[in-house]
């Protein structure tokens, strides 16, 4: 059974879509949520092989890539899907191909040119990515056992969104990089895997807590905070409480909710 206590916020692993008029489909992270997004996209141009999507990964732990083999637009010839991320020594191409190894995965290998969509993989280096009027900036916000983790900032000259789904503030460089991404953002989506009470006993595991998310939001003058990357055991009620404890008129705080839509208003 689906545990009733997690029904409202949901338990699919991370995937967010950013919609912007006139822009290609933009997705951040490829957790299980990506499958259901893919199915929704099939009703649009992706069903007929005319879709264009850009998918950016924060890092390559399973919970952030495990939906990729089940993203059906990848199997439809004509679609163009560009994957971006940084995987250090391993390389994104190898990491994503390894996931498709036939010992693990029965899905046809869409990285093969003859199968499915046109799929490109880019290892993110230093330069921001420009897609039409959108600027996608990124920064390494620490590493875990040698695996880099990226945070993103998506802006269109008017509004800005910062996406920092997995971070632990172990040094000032990480803090600075995160602050730059979140600077003056209309919405900050931030890791809150541990509760404030749990965090002190879980240091070094690569995640942060709501208090740290709030500190970053305040320090960077972000306008709104969305707590994200919830612990699988966290109940709906516990999530309500986390957000309520931090919420204020100056800086609204909520917990990210599956299929929730958050609009950034023109300034």
């Amino acid at each position: 059974m689906v545990r009733p206590e997690t029904r409202r916020y949901g338990v699919n692993t991370p995937c967010i879509q950013v919609e912007c008029p006139g822009a290609d489909t933009l997705v951040f992270d490829g957790g299980i949520g990506l499958h259901w997004l893919g199915n929704a996209l099939l009703a649009e141009s992706f069903g007929s092989g005319k879709g264009k999507a850009h998918l950016f990964f924060s890092h390559t732990h399973w919970s952030h890539i495990q939906g990729v083999p089940f993203f059906v637009p990848l199997l439809i010839p004509g679609n163009s899907i560009h994957l971006y991320g940084r995987a250090g020594l391993y390389g994104m191409q190898k990491v994503l191909c390894d996931q498709m190894n036939p010992a693990y995965c029965p899905v046809p290998d869409f990285f093969d040119d003859a199968i499915g969509a046109q799929v490109d993989v880019s290892e993110l280096g230093k330069s921001p990515i420009r897609l039409g009027s959108l600027l996608i900036e990124y920064a390494e916000i620490g590493q875990l056992h040698g695996s880099p983790r990226l945070g993103y900032r998506i802006s269109d000259g008017m509004n800005a969104l910062a996406y920092i789904p997995a971070v632990e503030y172990l040094n000032d460089a990480v803090r600075e990089a995160a602050r730059a991404l979140a600077n003056d953002a209309d919405l900050l989506i931030h890791d809150a895997y541990y509760s404030d009470e749990e965090y002190p006993t879980q240091q070094g595991r690569g995640h942060s807590c709501p208090r740290q998310a709030l500190e970053l939001a305040q320090g960077a003058s972000a306008k709104r905070l969305l707590l994200f990357n919830h612990h699988p055991e966290r109940s709906d009620q516990a999530l309500d409480e986390l957000a309520n404890a931090l919420n204020s008129a100056e800086l609204p705080v909520e917990c990210g909710r599956e299929r929730g839509v958050y609009a950034l208003e023109e300034r």
Binding site: M1, F70, A103, L144, P232
Partner: protein
Amino acid sequence: MLHLQHLIRICSARLSYVADDRLVIHMEITFWGVRGSFPVSSPHCARYGGNTPCIEVNAQDTCVIVDAGTGICSLGKRLVEQGQKEIHLLISHTHWDHIHGFPHFAPLCESDVTIHLYALANANASLKDILCGQQQEPFFPNALDSVNADLHFTDLSEGQRWNIGPIDVQCRRLNHASYTGGFRLESVGKTFSYLSDLDLYGPRLHGEGMNTGTEDEIEQKRIGLQQNALELARDADLMVFDSFFLTEEYKDDWGHSKMEDALRLGAESNARRIAFFHHAPGRSDDQLDELVAHYSTEVHRDADLIAATEGDQVVL
């Protein structure tokens, strides 16, 4: 049907007495994950459940787990609570949905626990290498070769038969991609058959190395694979079967069976109870209710038909 399921739920005690006062020991089957492909958390499957395959088999305090989908996460917590020190895990094959719960299996953190893992041998890599490949950077932060539990890996040969405590176990290859095995577990005169992930009657052969040789040789392999399924399921008290497809959805290149195939094998093998299993991610609770009701009228003789439900227990 409903009446029967109700009975199953209340008969959950491990030991019970029959009329002549002799102690009878049961085999207990608990479904921890029943969904195929990937875990689903939508309201459409709230009742039957969205976790990927994991079944617990208990006989005389011997704990055997079949498959390590996400259902194994909750089972793991319970095993740690109850202090289970010896755990046997049978893996049908190493597709993600059958192993991706394993890194989150709580007994891995216990230094006084021994976990025995078994899977049909893959010619390209050992079970140990495949599971270590899943559980290391850049995919997962805690490497499998540094966990506290003691792990023993066995790559099974085709048709291998061995004992786990009071349970006689048999593994045979099935028609599914890569190297996929089905299992037959027998104890105290009861039989549990696990056939998840196979295209039993489809036109294609899916396993690695299955499509080589002359037409005749390939035909022999097809017959052999169907025979394997039949042998595993023969006179089973419970047969769990890959029922991923509806008849009209069936695709011959996916390696999965249709619900009607479960009934056909059930009749051929004289299984007493059939459980639809490995439900497609989009299959709703209401659909499953209707399908069970529909196919119940077509089941052979006095056999029962159920759709496997997360959290339910069946006592053989």
